[in-house]
Amino acid sequence: MPGSLLSIDVLLIAAAAWLAIGLCGLLAPRNTAFISRLLFPLGAVVGIGMGVAALNALGGDAQTAVLVIGLPDLPFHLRLDNLSAVFALLLGFASAGISIYAAGYFRKGEGAAPGVLCLEYHLFLASMLMVLLADDAYAFMVAWETMALSSFFLVTTDHKHEEIRRAGFLYLLIAHIGAIGILLSFGVMTGGAGDYSFAAMRTQELAPFWSSAAFLLALAGFGAKAGLVPLHVWLPEAHPAAPSPVSAMMSGVMLKTAIYGLLRVSFDLLHTTIWWWGVVALVVGLITALFGVLYATVQNDMKRLLAYSSIENIGLIAVGIGLTLIFHAYRMEGLAALAMTAVLYHCLAHAGFKSLLFLCTGSVLHATRERSLGKLGGLIHHMPWVAWLALAGVIASTGLPPLSGFVSEWLLLQSFLFSPGLPHPWLNMVVPVAAALVVLVAALAGFAMVKFYGIIFLGQMREPALKDAHDAGAWEKLGLVWLALITLFLGVMPSTVILRIDAATRQLLGSGLADKLNENGWWMLAPISPERASYEPLLVLVTIAAALLMGRWLVRHLYHGRVRRSSAWDCGYHFEGPRAQDTAEGFSQPIRRIFEPMFRMERHFPAARDTKPFYSVKVEDHFWYWCYLPIARLANWISTLIVTLQGGRIAVYLMYSFITLIVLLLVARP
């Protein structure tokens, strides 16, 4: 379109607009109405516009731009290609919902001044967009770290609490270490040429050793941000600490930028692929997924539970990336495209449903001031909107038809299923076992999500104060509905979506699913052929709905619709207090029991004659004790040695410089 605005320009304008909106927040930092009623909705509008522009760019040629800012030899190179566009699409539409929600969420007198929050929030958005657009290492790193910084400040909004500060610190530290890994990876990829633009990296021919080094560094670096085990420890701390829209943004969108980076490095910048990279990613992904879901089931804090669930989902995405790498390395492009589509789709789906769930916890938090599952319950009566919308998120996140999570899991399993034929017998054995574990993870996710939903929204209220809970406000509802609609759309219209995002798959792998999909109708998802595998979610939805409605109509028609209310039957027991229900701990007891070695538990049992008996269990992460504490101790030990240098005696100091001088005089020779 000559003369008209290119999509990349629109995206840049969007980034600038977000920045400007953020800065506007500083004009009246304490004016809540101005900020939440004007600025945040504006941000949402920008998000939608940006998403539409990204959608428009899908399938087109890559667009580039060079900004004047940056290093003297390396100004910011920007590039909008299909891969960036897919993730920009995700960012735009997910952030729109979150921004609308946030318009109703941030209130007076909570944590930092709203204006500062507004700046940090929109800076966060803009930097994520810049990460997606960056086309050289410097621009990427600047955007990447700005993203980390702005989200760090958002996480520590409520910095009164020690544990929130601790969470923020841990988050930023691991983000920084990850960034170092990424930088190193870029360094390796320049191949010593010293040109840090991505265009130059694409043309570098690297030896397999260096390619592998770059890949592993990137996996570690981006894995730290995405939450791959063992670099996940920040995630369950930071997500609960942040205000809910921020948790939603971090979990739904920010983690995806890490996935974006990993895809960018593995499939775009490195153009050779070695099969064992895939195995590494697959194994790490499986461990992460299993670890995440197991820990999710035993959490007693609703946001921590969701955070661990995010770890699980990232693990599944990593499994998909691993599979794609394996297929790609063996030139099985059709299957690689299938797995890659699963990855991209799961990114989109997760962005929708996890943001939705985090926002729901935000509403619950606002209504009850309570995060602990043990003190919630029965909220569906007071918060029907939130409860029913959360149900959509729960079903999607459990990976059940007909919502979004199922589509990506279905695609992933399909790609597993057709894997035999790999020219490596050992791999042939590993892949089915991996598939089995993926399925186990998906099923366990169901356990975790039923616990999440059942304990919060169903049953009796565990605390009397919950009676005062109120449903979400109009803005919040709007945001939730928007995300729920995304989840539904992704669930029932997979072919339509895949046809759009197929351009990215095609760009990375050289082949896509579009041809096959086009042969069948828009309603049918049959990536290979309808005889081999097909899924028509719309039909599933319609059939279930028809059976449901017809059943209801028939029953009402043939019989009656009479209902009487009475107290619960409960096998005739009458200790009907809320304490008779399962606690959150109790619900997950079977999992703790079956997977006991996976957890590090501290239990408190009531004594025989306790007047107020209670049972509690604290589950801790093994990785703290296996990885992090030893490293901390080592560093501490080294510092103990080194600080003896500064012992306070001037004679000793003089001796240091004397000895340095003499050693240099004796040793250093030209």
Partner: protein
């Protein structure tokens, strides 16, 4: 070099050797006032060496240097130090951190190192006093050693000044003097430094009731 060393050079070498000897003597000296006297004597030898160099080469600014040395190092600084010692009443024994015989042994090793390091340079030198550079370096190092081993603030300062003597020896005897403006600057700095130190001593004694630097080991990290 085939010719015999000229007499003037022999003289300068002699003075340099005496300066080295005095450096050793200072390293061994326990008493504060004697230490200052030795320092003055070292300064005097330095003055003589510079004077000989000035006479031999006929460079005018070396005369100035010699005069400056005489005024500062032989007269003014020892006088100030004497006054300080009296006012602050620190005549007492100077107890070294390391035993004196050990210090002397280390000193001898240092002299060997210094000569060794200076050897290639001495061979290049065209001036008549080519050996003095090694001696100057040895003096600097011995003074350094003295600063390390002493624990009274004043003796550290004397060590510091003795180091300046070594440097001056290098400057005047080995290279026949630095540009005048530099030498003036150096002299000024030394003078100001000593005056500041003098003020400092009083402050230190006010705060710590002693000039023993072992009291000043509070700032540390371990």
């Amino acid at each position: 070099m085939t010719t015999a060393i000229p007499f003037s050079a022999q003289l300068i070498n002699l003075f340099a050797a005496v300066i080295l000897l005095l450096a050793f003597a200072m390293l061994a000296q326990r008493r504060m006032l004697s230490l200052i006297n030795l320092f003055a004597l070292q300064g005097f030898c330095l003055f003589l060496a510079t004077l000989v160099a000035a006479v031999t080469t006929g460079q005018v600014h070396l005369y100035y240097s010699a005069g400056l040395t005489l005024a500062l190092k032989v007269l003014l600084l020892p006088w100030i130090l004497h006054r300080l010692v009296r006012k602050l009443n620190v005549r007492g024994e100077v107890e070294a951190l390391i035993k004196i015989p050990t210090t002397m042994l280390v000193g001898i090793v240092l002299v060997m190192i210094a000569f060794n390091v200076a050897l290639p340079i001495s061979e290049l030198s065209q001036t008549i006093t080519r050996g003095t550079l090694g001696i100057a370096l040895a003096v600097v190092m011995l003074a350094f050693l003295m600063m390390i081993t002493r624990q009274k603030a004043i003796s550290q300062v004397v060590g510091f000044l003795s180091m300046e003597n070594g440097l001056f020896l290098a400057a005047t005897s080995a290279t026949y003097g630095m540009p005048m403006v530099v030498e003036l600057g150096i002299a000024l700095d030394v003078l100001v430094g000593v005056i500041i130190l003098g003020v400092f001593f009083f402050q230190i004694r006010d705060q710590f009731d002693s000039l023993d630097i072992r009291h000043m080991e509070k700032l540390k990290d371990n």
